[in-house]
Symmetry: C2
Subunit: 310 residues, 2 copies
């Protein structure tokens, strides 16, 4: 198990904790050999002989495989895996943390959709200008929320949105042609999409322009799915009513980014899906379940398909 020495303490897994969690599995009676490593330079020495790698930091799986020929499976603690895929050996399975973010991610999507319906980004901009401009719109009931991406987070958001009376919030398998049809009647567009060859640049300037005037945008998946320059232009002109962005192509967002001064834009610093109060425990739930599956030789949960990219 590889920890990130620069990461927050809440995101590290101690040897004792991992041993205790694995020890609860009925098929182990204390007989699992656990090695943890907090010093990236020592990975090659520490990993030798390991069958399974739990990666709590960004690392190169090809290098891990070179250090341990027996390595057959790597569990990571992120949902997005685009940084791992270029160096994934064909004979190493990769599983991600999809679903671990689901509860907080779904509630954050609800929060963002409600904020956009209640024009919070506009009122924040009006406050900067000391402008008192009420708007007396209705509740979110009947509004059209189009949800791009139906992984763990997107699926978990659906019942929360339906409970508020939102219309047609999601398309299970929205083709690009479907997307072009649904954009003109979308009040709020929410993306949980991963970054893959198919999704990169999907919501470009032309598609943003196809949204009705005053539409809102929520991005909690990957930023590269959108043209943020076009999105920013839409917010500045007021064609877009507001946006809540949790993800950016460069993070932390550089101090000289024009997004910091973009009106009608709420920036949350890539934290709206990760709940450090429970995150690692939930990752260990997935990992321990997968350890049992790995031993039993059955299909792992959250198995990434390298061809799809998620």
């Amino acid at each position: 198990m590889e920890n990130d020495p620069d990461g927050p303490p809440a995101m590290r897994v101690t040897a004792a904790k991992l041993q205790a969690r694995l020890g609860q599995l009925p098929e182990f009676d204390g007989g699992v050999d656990v090695t943890t490593n907090d010093i990236p330079a020592l990975m090659a020495a520490r990993i030798a002989g390991a069958n399974v790698l739990l990666a709590c930091r960004k690392l190169n799986i090809r290098e891990a495989k070179a250090a341990s020929e027996a390595l057959a499976w790597t569990q990571v603690i992120t949902a997005g895996v685009e940084t791992y895929l270029p160096d994934l050996p064909a004979d190493v399975k990769l599983t991600n943390a999809s679903g671990v973010h689901a509860e907080k991610g779904a509630e954050f999507i609800l929060t963002s959709v409600l904020m956009l319906n209640y024009r919070i980004p506009q009122f924040v901009a009006d406050k900067d200008d000391r402008r008192w401009r009420p708007s007396f719109g209705g509740t979110v009931e009947g509004k059209v929320v189009t949800l791009l991406g139906v992984g763990g987070i997107g699926r978990a958001a659906v019942p929360l949105l339906l409970a508020r009376g939102v219309t047609a919030p999601v398309s299970e398998c929205l083709s690009v042609a479907d997307l072009d049809m649904v954009l003109p009647r979308t009040d709020i567009l929410v993306s949980t999409l991963p970054l893959t060859a198919e999704t990169a640049g999907l919501v470009d300037r032309r598609r943003l322009a196809a949204l009705p005037s005053g539409a809102g945008i929520v991005v909690v998946g990957r930023a590269g799915v959108f043209d943020y320059a076009a999105l920013s232009d839409g917010l500045r002109s007021g064609d877009l009513g507001g946006a809540v962005l949790d993800v950016f192509t460069e993070e932390p967002l550089p101090p000289d980014s024009a997004l910091w001064t973009c009106p009608r834009l709420v920036i949350t610093p890539h934290c709206s899906l990760d709940d450090h109060t429970s995150y690692i425990d939930r990752c260990l739930d997935v990992f321990c379940d997968n350890v049992s599956r790995f031993r039993a030789g059955v299909r792992l949960l959250n198995l990434v398909d390298p061809a799809r990219g998620y």
Copy 2:
């Protein structure tokens, strides 16, 4: 029926609309005499002989009674009635629009509570400073939301908050002593309280200081219940984590108000409860129901108790 000539068109009731709505009541077969007036100076002439007044603008009920000795009941379209009470003759019943705001008000309270849990006011302040400071807190589940005021809006908010797993969101009859006990464990304090002799200044500097560090505040009732100067001090120092304020002692908030530059404060311009897409229709629901009750001589809905002030 008195309209407000300066109000938005969506908030006016035409004679035809009122006649049509009253005509649907089974006990009238077209036999109700409706007079509407859009010119305040003409009220005295137009109201002569009326038993019932539907007031869609702020007016002096004592003057109306002087113009029509038969006036026995006035229905207003606001929930707060503090501006009507000083000039309410003892023999004129007053009914308000409590409950008409309930659906939107409840959803806006949910929105505000979620925004505070997800630290949106802090992230808005960080954006002004171009600061990237993630915080990885949990969902709102288990947080303590204390709801002051359990009229139509407060009651409607309870199930929405409970559905998100909030703890102890409301006290049906919170005494001042209870309030002092509950403040130190309150994560988010929400007020829908009307302004009365009992509530004026209730949440003063001392009570705000009793909240735990980082607590949030939502005010959608009346501003005079709070000490906004103390609230603003708490936001500036960071003792309070954030606030969403929809109401102010002076509205529109004057351009020189220090609240415009107060960090961690989201200002919504007294519009978060009023839904102009449905507001007047719902007021007419209450009014028509009350017309039937008035004719039948039974207790009116939303009857204001002048001694309580709501």
